[in-house]
């Protein structure tokens, strides 16, 4: 049976004259994601995008799973393409829904007839097909309010499509349609979630991570790389910048008052990040800060760190509780990696009693007690780039 994947556009259907460029971006991202499985053709009609497998041996279930993570569509499903003939439709439908029918107890049929030349009206299709499905699968019962399986028949201009229910797609708008940003990625739970949320709004992300060997281990860096890998199904390939941070941290320890360690370190991190961003023509920074979560994320601390920034810093999880963040982290499958217990640079030399209400002037003064500029320049210069690619 000929099958394809249908993507229903969500927000991008509303983009007016720009719609086409959003669709282009979506198809481009989708192509990148699906091409390792085999060759697909892409078509668009009536705010729907069709991915048509060009050979028989392509694993469409895997393709659906991948497609469900590409931002820009509201729903997706695998569908059978059949001739616009009711006998043919019902015969194929019964065969096609077998798998879902086996694991469902209740169902209903939905019909959409955009080709008005088709002789049966939608309610007639529903009734007649429903009856035949009941005959074929006697264990099923009809439930129009809360069915476990929805069999949809779409009669379109080109052909009829049968599928057993829409899957929720990733939503959002296609990555690459909203500019670029550099994510500060520590290895914790929050920053991957922040990345996911920005990517959902179409932002193309790069990531920066700070390493302080021997205080932090190779495993900590690998952990962050694995986090990037987990993000690629959503974000696409990620340019991963790894900044050597040991010297700066040691200097900080030796020259600045302890209660300001974290806050000055954050300021230096942001400074390095924006220099990388400026050099690579990246427009903004992204962090996983949530206001009040820890000492460095109090309103006072954020004011102090933001004081060094020349570009916008987005904090998409700023108003979220940890439990809400964890929920998303689990959904995007970064949680299990994030909780692996490796020392990262944020926890090196943590002060016993950090300032929770730092005053910008005091912080500035403390930071100015040493000239960090050469160290910053050196760190930026020695930054290593690795592109984390989609598997």
């Amino acid at each position: 049976m000929k099958e394809l994947i249908i993507f229903k556009e969500g927000e991008i259907a509303l983009k007016g004259l720009n719609k086409r460029s959003f669709e282009d971006a979506f198809i481009r991202n989708l192509k990148h994601r699906l091409s390792p499985l085999g060759k697909f053709g892409y078509e668009r009609a009536q705010s729907t995008i069709y991915a048509i497998p060009m050979s028989e041996d392509i694993d469409l279930d895997e393709a659906v799973e991948r497609g469900a993570k590409v931002f820009g569509a509201a729903a997706l499903c695998k569908a059978a393409v059949v001739e616009k003939d009711f006998e043919e439709i019902s015969r194929k439908a019964i065969e096609y829904i077998k798998e879902t029918a086996e694991i469902s107890r209740t169902f209903k049929v939905e019909a959409k007839r955009s080709d008005k030349k088709f002789p049966m009206k939608s309610p007639e299709i529903c009734m007649e097909l429903g009856g035949r499905i009941l005959e074929a699968y006697p264990h099923l019962t009809v439930d129009v309010k809360n069915p476990q399986m929805v069999v949809t028949v779409e009669i379109r201009d080109t052909a009829a499509y049968i599928h057993a229910g829409n899957l929720k797609a990733a939503g959002g708008i296609p990555v690459g349609t909203s500019g670029s940003a550099l994510l500060l990625l520590s290895g914790g739970i929050d920053s991957p979630v922040a990345a996911y949320m920005m990517a959902k709004r179409g932002v193309k992300l790069s990531a920066v991570h700070y390493v302080s060997p021997p205080y932090t281990s190779e495993r900590a860096r690998m952990k962050v790389e694995r986090l990037c890998e987990k993000l690629t199904p959503y974000c696409g390939d990620i340019a991963f910048y790894c900044v050597p941070f040991t010297k700066i941290q040691e200097t900080l320890r030796d020259n600045c008052p302890e209660e300001f360690f974290t806050i000055i370190m954050r300021r230096l991190m942001l400074e390095i990040a924006q220099r990388i961003a400026e050099e690579k023509e990246i427009q903004a920074l992204v962090t996983g800060e949530s206001v009040g979560q820890v000492a460095s994320q109090t309103m006072g601390a954020i004011v102090c760190t933001d004081a060094v920034c020349r570009m916008p810093v987005f904090r998409p999880v700023i108003g979220m509780d940890k439990t809400e963040i964890v929920e998303i982290a689990r959904k995007i499958d970064t949680f299990d990696i994030s909780i692996e217990p490796y020392e990262d640079c944020c926890t090196v030399f943590t002060p016993k009693h950090p300032k929770t209400r730092p005053v910008p002037a005091e912080v500035e003064k403390a930071q100015n007690s040493f000239d960090f500029e050469p160290l910053i320049a050196e760190a930026v210069r020695d930054t290593e780039l690795k592109v984390v690619k989609l598997e």
């Binding site: 798998e99 086996e102 495993r219 690998m222 499958d333 299990d336």
Partner: protein, 381 residues
């Protein structure tokens, strides 16, 4: 040249497996839990193996846990599921065909922990009737277990049909599938089988003995048998046997691309074997070729006890298995469960093919069977 036709018992490790084992013994011998570089290398090698197994089962690598073999994996699955899901639901439904590594843990739970066990008997062809199995499962059932390919007859069980219905009616019931004899011999998609837990073994697929793996679907909580350092996400404490795991991964990676060809080849060889056997009037084939894996054929040689024939063949450097593991007078539970007479069960021989079995080897077997029957039957008189 020896003719090895006992591949369901174990297989000859393939070259990539052996060199991966060697590499991980003499070079990459770090402990994968160590923080230093050698530990990281060992962990990486293990991750590669995990990815290979996951690709073969079409699942996420995170769902794969390594064990010391299929026996440990099956034990973990049965006891671990019973522990977490069987506090109130005290019923287990299994096929009567299960390998002892499933049957015995289930029996233990029945005898010691108050579980009610339903053992669904196969039909004459060695296949479980899905309706009968499904009817036995109820809301009190914590575990449903059915193997995919039977190790004695090769019969492929309708696991998907059984488990999909079980999951439809009782989504809380854990489904477990021993897929040892099916793995790498037929395509397996974890999601399509509706199995929550699936078990595979290394040494049946040209890796070395002492390593197996279990697939555990996300969201299913299996209690560990061993407590300790929390390796394998706490499911299997104890330093991982990196060499064996890496060897397992290497074997799967090497053989995976040719699985389909190997299957077709085995089908041809089986057809040839069956054709030859059909000409021997003293042979009764116990495996139903319609519904059996081509890699396993079970037949009985009239009037000659399995072990006698096995040793006769052995003298001719042909290695097979006695189809009924009739230890101390007990008959094979599988053949008996199939309703095969004691006489046939006592004389059953299991021939199991590998990827490299040739028609010439089948000729040698059939000739030896013929000669064996002549001389042994004569001696008996």
């Amino acid at each position: 040249m020896a003719v090895y036709l006992d591949n369901a018992a174990t297989t000859r490790p393939c070259e990539p497996a052996v060199s991966a084992v060697f590499q991980n013994m003499v070079e990459d011998y770090g402990n994968p839990s160590s923080l230093h570089g050698m530990g990281i290398t060992a962990e990486k090698n293990m991750t590669e193996a995990r990815k290979a197994i996951a690709a073969a089962l079409v699942c996420d690598p995170q769902c794969v846990t390594f064990t010391s073999g299929a026996t440990e994996a099956n034990n973990t699955a049965v006891f671990g599921a019973a522990k977490n899901y069987g506090k109130r639901k005290k019923k287990i439904v299994v096929s009567a065909l299960e390998h002892p590594s499933v049957a015995e843990p289930v029996k233990y739970l029945e005898e010691n922990d108050g579980f009610e066990v339903i053992r669904v008997k196969p039909s004459r062809g060695g296949i479980i009737d899905p309706d009968e199995f499904i009817a036995a499962v109820d809301e009190n059932t914590c575990l449903a277990s059915c193997m995919l390919v039977n190790n004695e007859t090769g019969a492929v069980q309708p696991v998907r049909k059984i488990f999909s219905a079980v999951k439809r009616e009782f989504p809380e019931c854990v489904t477990h599938c021993d897929a040892v004899q099916a793995f790498m011999k037929m395509p397996i998609k974890s999601a399509e089988l509706f199995a929550d837990v699936m078990v595979v073994s290394g040494h049946k697929v040209h890796a070395v003995k002492g390593v197996g793996a279990m697939y555990i679907r996300k969201g299913i909580r299996i209690a560990p048998l061993l407590l300790g350092g929390g390796q394998e996400k706490g499911l299997r404490s104890g330093t991982e046997s990196v060499p064996l795991i890496a060897g397992f991964g290497a074997a799967v990676r090497a053989l995976m691309p040719t699985m389909k060809v190997a299957h077709e080849n085995a089908e041809q060889i089986r057809e040839y074997l069956l054709k030859k056997l059909s000409k021997l009037d003293f042979v009764t084939v116990n495996s139903d070729s319609e519904s059996c894996s081509p890699f396993i054929t079970n037949f009985s040689v009239q009037g000659i006890r399995s072990e006698t024939m096995l040793h006769y063949l052995e003298e001719n450097e042909i290695y097979v298995s006695s189809g009924s593991a009739c230890s101390k007078g007990a008959h094979s539970s599988v053949l008996t469960a199939m309703g095969i007479s004691d006489d046939l069960a006592d004389s059953a021989i299991r021939v199991s093919l590998s990827r490299t079995t040739t028609m010439g080897e089948i000729d040698l077997l059939v000739n030896a069977l013929q000669n064996g029957y002549m001389s042994l039957a004569k001696k008996k008189k």
